[in-house]
């Protein structure tokens, strides 16, 4: 048996991370010169393709050996799952022939977290031995071993207030980097003040409620678990209880999109207070108008915490001519205030803050309509207008 190191293009070599090559015996002249190389472009953390070269016999294109070239080079994922006799399926990809070399390019890019094994195997008819080990060579690529330092953390849990209503509808978690999804509920826990974990407090959906960048996750408290009226829920209690303290805990072993765990766990402790069944009433909002010829913030004080995402998305500012005013928005004071800074100076005049009716407070009450409609109340056929206005002047 001869040992042989796999190597790759000299020009890429200096940035290549260590890997291990194993070689098995070969006893026919056909395999004596074959080499397997993993091609890893500069700056990449995983190979782009793998090449088996110096394949004697390919230089006779008419031969049966040469005609069968597409099946000689295969790549497999190396994982414990295939320790038994069963052969894993080969990685999907395409082979190209060039001179005496076959290049395999995977259909989906190789991962920098997976061990791969490339096998070059001759068909039976071209070796003198039936022993599989004597007509196959392989090369294994192992991901870089250095541990990457955790880099991602939870930047905030909304609502930020320490006192939350018993009929709280949702949380938002924001992260400093894109996260990985699929099993999010395994990493999120709600504990009551006896340190008991609340069973299934959140709406667990197959399609998780991420934003496009996967840096914000929406958690809905299961509406079936929100306490209604005086009688407790049967079978399984409410998620939150007035008068008690709870902790929302996020595990640090939740991996980000690069496969690295969070920097640290995150915990939000809060007190639960009476439920909020009041619709939002923008007439009660306090508006502090900015001065003209400044880019000072317009401040709208809601008098209560509103939904973090909706308070920013559903309130827009228009001039008296109906022109939309471009600017940046920020929520302050535990999401009880919206601060709007225009991109251009305020001009003197009248303005409108237009608010969509589907705005929500922490309990999911909208403008003019609370989250729950009691069947015993007088339920008129509701006429939905889309928005409501609050006017203000810049003087």
């Amino acid at each position: 048996m001869r040992g042989r190191r796999c190597f790759f293009d000299d020009m890429n070599a200096k940035h290549y991370k260590p890997f291990v090559t194993l070689l098995t015996a070969f006893c026919t002249h056909t395999l004596s010169a074959v080499e397997i190389q993993w091609i890893q472009p500069e700056g990449a953390s995983a190979p782009a393709r793998v090449i088996a070269s110096e394949i004697d016999g390919l230089s006779h294109p008419g031969s049966t050996f040469a005609k069968g070239w597409k099946s000689y080079l295969k790549v497999y994922v190396v994982t414990d799952a295939f320790l038994s006799n069963e052969k894993p399926p080969p990685v999907l990809g395409s082979c190209e022939l060039s001179g005496a070399a076959i290049t395999f390019t995977p259909r989906f890019p190789f991962s920098n977290r997976v061990t791969y094994r490339a096998e070059f195997q001759l068909p039976e008819s071209h070796t003198e031995s039936d022993n599989l080990y004597e007509r196959k060579i392989h090369s294994t690529w192992i991901p870089g071993q250095e541990k990457k330092a955790p880099n991602t953390e939870i930047t905030q849990v909304y609502p930020t207030a320490d006192y939350l209503p018993e009929n709280l509808l949702k949380f938002y978690l924001t992260f400093s980097n894109p996260m990985s999804g699929g099993y999010v509920y395994d990493h999120i826990h709600l504990y009551n003040e006896l340190d008991q974990e609340v069973e299934l407090p959140f709406l667990e959906l197959e399609e998780e409620l991420w934003d496009d960048a996967m840096m914000r996750l929406t958690l809905f408290i299961d509406p079936g678990r929100i306490k209604r009226g005086v009688k407790p829920l049967e079978e399984i209690g409410p998620s939150l209880v007035n008068g008690e303290r709870f902790r929302l805990v996020i595990d640090e072993d939740w991996k980000d999109a690069s496969g690295i765990a969070l920097k640290r766990a995150m915990e939000k402790s809060f007190h639960v207070i009476q439920p909020d069944r009041q619709a939002i009433d923008p007439i009660k909002w306090k508006i502090i108008a900015p001065k003209p010829d400044t880019c000072d913030a317009l401040v709208i004080k809601f008098g209560e915490s509103l939904d973090f995402a909706l308070a920013q998305r559903l309130i827009e500012i228009f001039s008296s001519e109906g022109d939309w005013i471009n600017g940046s928005k920020r929520l302050e004071s535990n999401e009880t205030e919206l601060h709007f800074k225009p991109d251009s100076h305020w001009k003197k005049g009248d303005y409108t803050a237009r608010v969509q009716m589907i705005l929500e407070d922490l309990a999911g009450n909208n403008i003019g309509k609370s989250f729950e409609v009691d069947v015993f109340d007088d339920v008129q056929r509701r006429v939905y207008s889309k928005s409501t206005d609050r006017n203000f002047s810049v003087r």
Binding site: T79, A81, F82, P88, P89, P90, V91, L92, F108, P109, S111, R113, V114, L169, K170, P178, M179, S180, G181, G182, L200, L203, E204, L205, E206, E207, E208, L209, W210, D211, D212, A213, M214, D222, P223, G224, R228, G229, L233, E234, E235, I236, D256, S258, A309, R313, E316, W324, N326, R354, Q356, I358, F371, E372, V373, V375, V379, R381, K386, S387
Partner: protein
Amino acid sequence: MTKGKPALRSAGSISFGPEGILFIADAKSASIHAIATGDTEASKASPVKLEAINTKIAGMLGTTADEILIKDIAVNPISKHTYLSVSRGRGPSAIPVIVRVEDKDKLIVLDFNHVENSTAILPDAPEDKLVGQGRRSSNKRLESITDIAFLDDRVLIAGLSNEEFASTLRGIPFPFKSVEKGTRVEIYHGAHGRFETKSPVRTFVPINIGTEPHLLAAYTCTPLVQIPLKSIEPDAQIIGKTIAELGNRNRPLDMIVYNKEDNVFLLMANSSRGIMKINAQSIESFDKIEKRVEGGQSAGLPYETINSWKGVVQLDQLDDQHAILLVRADNGSLDLVSRPLP
């Protein structure tokens, strides 16, 4: 439909239409893609037993089982082939992949580079039209699509926003033209004694009740609600008829409707009750539930629990006699198996 490559950014729920057309819910691009799979040769169902299908698919995609997610399964009623919608990767740049199972255990990863396809884009939330493109692009609002199904002449879509707590139920006529707005569906939760407008539809299934097409929709904390198809029009407010209240410790995962021995049954996979088999024959004459259901009990249609079917995470009907199931085994692997309908 035009020939080309659909702009598939994600693949969640899948469902078959006529003639081997596969509908794919793509929440990332807020659209539904219709793809002609070309899988139109009628055949009999083969029994399926693919252990650790997640590991096998991952291996073909060049990764490990913990790096893929199997989002949904659907059977082509013509060829009886099972399709899986898979996410290769679990981060924002995950790649959507559709896999077809042929014969007993052959896995084919479909190539959509050159297929007949068409796409329906779901409209933005109405309030997004208020301002220009610039603002809309900074929106983090996305709608998750919890289930889709094809019935008659349209694709039905149940959706839930990641911001406002509003669930939508839409019918998009196919072939795709323009997309209608969401439909507000009001239902009455039997166990809670109140109207509930807001719960998201978790899973639904088309069913004919008498001669009328309906949807049976399962909501969180499992009331089961019957909604006439013709009432799903834009901006309609419908009272769905609650026909079963299955207790509030549940997450309904998947449902199918099948006929057996002159009866119509509903088979529902849910998180804590296992598989429930419900006799749906009497839905037509069933009294709706309006009073409070005491003690967290179930009420409404009688059902039985199929105790031998444990760990089912996805299910679909394979043929008249069989279901296809994705089952999580004790060792954590996902197995795709066919079983006789109970």
